[in-house]
């Protein structure tokens, strides 16, 4: 069973050797970010900064809860050495389980309460993550909770939020996000503010579920319970009619204002660039802040991969895509989202290929909100998780003239795609490409080039003989 709160997860990371405590005083103004970024880029551990300049003893920042596959394994309650393929399989197996949450009256996340005029978000050590960001981002590894006023459906998402003033945040859920759709369809027509909670510092599975693209109407909290193997405890906010995870470290309660806006961004985002999305977000009036004693602020110092976003989304997005492709009748075998591709590049292996299947894949990825710009489709004999094999297939089997199909769109593209111009990003205009690295379906079997590999070129009796002598030939340990 996975752990039930962030402190339990930190203890588990410490036991597995995947956490370092930074005990010297560090500055929230870029120093925490700089150390964290270098740690990601060196495949380093999660970092717990225990002494933050300007803040009381006991206030701390945890960077990179699931910034490596080892830490994802720990989060799932699996051995840290679990392979990526096994992690995908474990997540997929648990993915459909649901456990209803339980509601409690008292909660650790409400040990300290600020409300009304007492609200001062500067009492929390929100970092200036990168030099040149638009401000101090308190929401980088968060859960944003909103509620449909008609159906009561509660949505969890993960979006960036920045401190604007002591009692206001600005944020940038993309204009095509579920939060945006709820605000535009349910609250703006009534000229109402939308209650929102920015939840910080849960155990990581709750956050990972928030990154998972479940369909509207699906309760992420039930899936989080299923993944954890125990229900999530929820408590009602002090100033908003919203239920939030009771074991969170920090909850910022407020309202997305329907008629006022302020400057948001820019921010160094998950694709690994500060691509210039700025000034088109939302403004939140904070109505209350609750937190545990000695709160731990979770941080993801986003940038070039790997980091929590590219790792967590690799898993959650891939499983959702596989499910969606199957629903559309695509003969999908595996979907792999390589962290290096920051969800812009996807690998899909299929039981049978050809241009028709490749087109089906492209249609799936561009049907609605488009977050993916490049998809490589490979045959079933290519291990989608092995990028050496994928690149080989792409280089040799994707016909430069016939094997690339494009889909152009506007109003639903990914504004964070760095290769789009500023104008394209603003208009959510983009293009997605599928690279068909499968053999054409109409080629006769005798004409299909035969792959020259140990596995595919030699008869079984010879392969068995080679393997039987491998060790005595002095090649042991190299298998």
């Amino acid at each position: 069973m996975a752990v039930s709160d962030l402190r339990g997860f930190i203890a588990a990371l410490e036991r597995s050797g995947d956490l370092v405590r930074i005990k010297r005083e560090v500055d929230w103004d870029m120093e925490v970010g700089a150390i964290s970024r270098r740690a990601y880029e060196k495949a380093g551990p999660a970092l717990l900064f225990e002494k933050i300049k300007d803040y009381p003893p006991g206030y701390s920042i945890l960077n990179g809860p699931v910034g490596t596959w080892r830490r994802v394994a720990v989060a799932l309650g699996l051995p840290p050495e679990t392979s990526v393929r096994q992690l995908y399989a474990a997540y997929e197996e648990k993915h459909e389980r649901k456990l209803s949450p339980v509601t409690v009256d008292t909660a650790p996340c409400q040990e300290i309460v600020m409300a009304g005029p007492e609200v001062d978000v500067y009492q929390l050590p929100a970092p200036m993550v990168h030099d040149g960001d638009g401000g101090r981002y308190i929401g980088t590894w968060d859960i944003i909770v909103t509620r449909d006023p008609d159906t009561g459906w509660t949505n969890w998402g993960m979006y960036r939020f920045m401190i604007h003033t002591k009692n206001m945040l600005t944020g940038w859920p993309q204009a095509t996000s579920q939060l945006a759709i709820m605000m535009k369809s349910k609250y703006l027509p009534r000229k109402q503010a939308m209650p929102v909670a920015v939840v910080i510092g849960c155990e990581p599975l709750c956050h990972m579920v928030a990154t998972d693209p479940y369909k509207p109407g699906e309760n992420e909290v039930e899936y989080a319970g299923g993944l954890r193997g125990e229900p999530v405890k929820l408590v009602r906010c002090k100033t908003q009619n919203l239920l939030v995870p009771a074991d969170a470290e920090i909850v910022i309660e407020g309202e997305v204002l329907p008629d006022r806006i302020a400057l948001e961004g820019p921010f160094g985002e998950y694709p690994g660039y500060r691509s210039g999305t700025m000034g088109e977000g939302v403004l939140v009036q904070i109505t209350g802040i609750t937190h545990r004693k000695n709160p731990i602020l979770t941080l993801s110092t986003l940038g070039v991969p790997p980091d929590d976003s590219s790792i967590a989304a690799s898993l959650t997005a891939a499983i959702a895509m596989k499910r969606g492709l199957r629903r559309r009748g695509v003969p999908v075998k595996d979907v792999y989202v390589p962290p290096e591709g920051v969800t812009h590049l996807i690998v899909v292996s299929v039981e049978r290929g050809g241009s028709r299947v490749a087109r089906q894949v492209l249609d799936f990825f561009t049907a609605r909100r488009v977050m993916v710009s490049k998809v490589i489709v490979v045959d079933r004999d290519v291990d989608a998780f092995d990028m050496n094999q994928v690149v080989h297939a792409f280089a040799t089997k994707c016909h430069p003239g016939r094997g690339i199909a494009l889909e152009h769109y506007e109003g639903r593209g990914n504004a964070l795609t760095p290769c789009y111009s500023a104008e394209e990003r603003r208009r959510l205009k983009g293009t997605s490409a599928v690279f068909d690295a499968t053999w054409p379906e109409d080629w006769e079997e005798e004409g299909v080039p035969i792959k020259s590999s140990f596995e595919t070129t030699y008869p079984d009796w010879l392969k068995e003989k080679v393997l039987a002598h491998w060790e005595s030939d002095g090649l042991g340990g190299r298998l």
Binding site: Y55, G134, I261, G265, G268, G276, L283
Partner: protein, 98 residues
């Protein structure tokens, strides 16, 4: 001692001298550094040309820092928001302010 602020613009060419309304962030060290204010302020390309002025650093929408600070003298602090619906362009709304 001059105070220092930073503002963000889509393009440096979109920022004009004279009296302007803009969001600025206070760079005074301490736990409230980067606090945002909406102000009406006198701006000048040459900081020395503003008596009793402070320094305004300018960054583009990618966070690029222009190497030379402007001068700023804050005339009035306004409520820290402008009219507009979520996801609307805040710069367009700023332009429409009286």
């Amino acid at each position: 001692m001059k105070r220092e602020y930073v503002t963000f613009v889509r393009r440096l060419s979109s920022l004009d001298e004279g009296v302007q309304t803009l969001f600025i962030k206070d760079l005074t060290p301490g736990p409230r550094k980067y606090d945002t204010k909406l102000v009406r302020a006198q701006l000048a390309r040459e900081p020395e040309s503003l008596s009793q002025g402070d320094l305004l650093w300018i960054r583009s929408e990618t966070g690029y820092l222009h190497p030379k600070a402007w001068g700023i003298r804050v005339l009035e602090e306004l409520p820290p928001h402008v009219p507009g619906q979520p996801w609307q362009d805040v710069f367009a709304s700023l332009k429409n302010l009286k």
